[in-house]
Symmetry: C2
DNA sequence: ACTCAGACCGCAAACGTTTTCGTGTTGACA
DNA sequence: TGTCAACACGAAAACGTTTGCGGTCTGAGT
């Protein structure tokens, strides 16, 4: 088990100086053809590769970007990471991930761990707890230290940085519009509490669509679910709430849910109540995940183009990192959604 | 925008030497109470944190582990990453991910990028192409350079390193056994081509269960699907093959599929052919993902405890990294599966 | 007054690079 | 033979840490 070979070892072995080796490997004209060949041959033989850490220290850049997301076992977020990884690789960067688990303190800790030289910039989506507490000091601190941040999906206006968001309200509006043109008269909304920015925006889209179509919103048709907890675990609670919603509003003939899980749960409840989909009730979800695609019946849904979000976030960040002039002109990229029609609507 | 503060700056500001600052911050008794307080106060004020890269260079360890997986938009793999991240965080390590996209060359490139000092060790699962080509030189090279590797799930015997695998054959055997005790007489197997190690093992488990129950295997009941391509995209092809399987074997009353997608596809086909689940045909899948849980009917499945796999892989790697004696005694941890019974079986 | 032990602190090396600036050796040319 | 450019290479600094060692005080003990 031989350790990785260094410039110093090559130098000693070939009886030249370290600088000569370095220059020879970088094809400097300062070095004679002879020595250059000799060094390069030797380096190739021993499979020399410059030590990344040393380079990072010298260049004061790591060519690594840090990604912090609330959870990774989630179609949307993993798709975003895939997008990030695509362009990061293409542009010579590595990706290091941190999971906040929707917790404020883990988000802070993770950022501190990475902000001390390990990475050049952040791409992140805020944890629910952070959104709830509205404590954003850690973002401002890292930005003040000259480390750029790109926020995606769950963003917050108070922070000045690049952002990539989806047109949540428009997407929702279109979805609800679709339900209305499909003949739905009493459309329920299953959404999150308002502190989740995307939930709020999607709620607005729902209301907008009703307004346009001159339908009076009924508060009894709007169910705001509070899932501070990680979603996977308390589905039963969700289903219970949805069942109450249905039972209290027998005339519901359409459902718009702000995420996949809520939509699937609504489907399950509807089935339990012997409602046929899409004949008796039509359902549309948000986020085009694997569940929507393979559900039975498959779910009409609003696609957020997660991979594209990741790609654009990465481009934005790397552009910023490699920009010479220090002119920080932050931009917000808005990605349009797309309604993917499947079997849960007529 | 002030850059991150360094020891040198603190030293200059307080008119002491760099070493004094360093020692003061680490509470060395060499430094007087006075200066210690002064330095620490100043450091706290300016929110000093030691530069990670410099530390990595000095200590020749990065406290970072590299994870290379075939794809991340995949419940199993993301769950493994979550497990890895759990213990990595707990033990003070960061996680940097690389995606091979099931491609051999991307796997090699990714490993080379990370092996040059960026990380202390690897946790990885082989790409399908690597398994097909059987070219493992990159693993041996990194191991020879003193960088430990832990392989999980898709492993290969030729490489000497720690491994974490699931008891594929046993899990499959139990599943098929379950079908048999549930009354199934003609059980189909939907599996992968043999070069995928786990597919092969699960096939063996299927055969074993038949053997134990004195049922003669029929080759016409075994469907080996070749999906070199990333799975998401060509589901139609899969369904077509499965439909042929059903049509050619009208007496099929049980299906064991080596992954979730195949199982779901089988369900879809069965439904299309007006077969009731679980009355006419019972189905069991492998991998307890989100699809199985929320399918309709929900899918009985063999859980691999993905998160636990990730955790154990990380423990194994970090133990190895932090072990003083160089005694490499590689171990293979076998994780037992668990049959999770849901609605797709009686 | 001399010695000596602490107490307190700085120097310098080391980790592995890259790069600037020198320095010594050629050969050509006057 | 002396001068000077071209050529080939080395020394050293820098990135930001940690740490062994040596140095300079002060005060106490003889």
């Amino acid at each position: 088990m031989k350790r990785k070979i260094t410039l110093k070892q090559i130098a000693r072995e070939l009886d030249v100086s370290i600088s000569t080796v370095s220059k020879a490997l970088r094809n400097s004209i300062e070095i004679s053809e002879d020595t250059r060949q000799k060094v390069q041959a030797f380096a190739k033989l021993y499979n020399y590769r410059p030590n990344n850490i040393a380079l990072s220290l010298k260049n004061r850049r790591t060519k690594t970007i840090g990604v912090i997301i609330p959870e990774i076992v989630h179609h949307f977020f993993s798709k975003v990471i895939q997008g990030i990884d695509n362009v990061a690789n293409k542009r010579g960067y590595n990706v290091i991930v941190g999971l906040s688990n929707e917790s404020f303190s883990k988000e802070v800790i993770n950022m501190q761990m990475l902000a001390n030289g390990s990475i050049d910039g952040f791409i992140l989506s805020l944890s629910k707890e952070t959104l709830l507490l509205q404590d954003y000091h850690h973002f401002n601190e890292t930005i003040n230290q000259g480390m750029p941040i790109v926020m995606f999906d769950r963003v917050v206006n108070e922070i000045l940085c690049d952002k990539v968001i989806v047109n949540d309200s428009n997407g929702s509006k279109d979805a609800v519009n679709k339900l209305i043109t499909n003949g739905c008269k009493h459309i329920a909304l299953i959404t999150t509490k308002d502190y989740v920015s995307v939930g709020k925006l999607r709620t607005q889209g729902y209301l907008k669509a009703l307004e346009i179509n001159k339908i009076a919103p009924e508060s009894s048709l709007i169910l705001k679910i509070d899932d501070k907890v990680v979603s996977e675990d308390h589905i039963e609670g969700i289903e219970l709430e949805i069942e109450k919603l249905f039972n209290n509003n027998k005339k519901i003939d359409g459902v718009f849910a702000v995420n996949e899980l809520y939509a699937i749960s609504a489907m399950k409840v509807a089935r339990k109540l012997n409602l046929n989909i899409p004949e008796d009730v039509q359902i549309i979800g948000f986020t085009d995940g694997v569940l929507s695609k393979h559900a039975n019946p498959s779910l009409t849904t609003v696609s957020q183009h997660a991979e594209s979000m990741g790609e654009q976030s990465a481009e934005l960040l790397i552009d910023n990192l490699e920009r010479e002039d220090e002119e920080d002109q932050y931009q917000t990229v808005v990605i349009e959604t797309e309604l993917i029609e499947r079997e849960s609507t007529k």
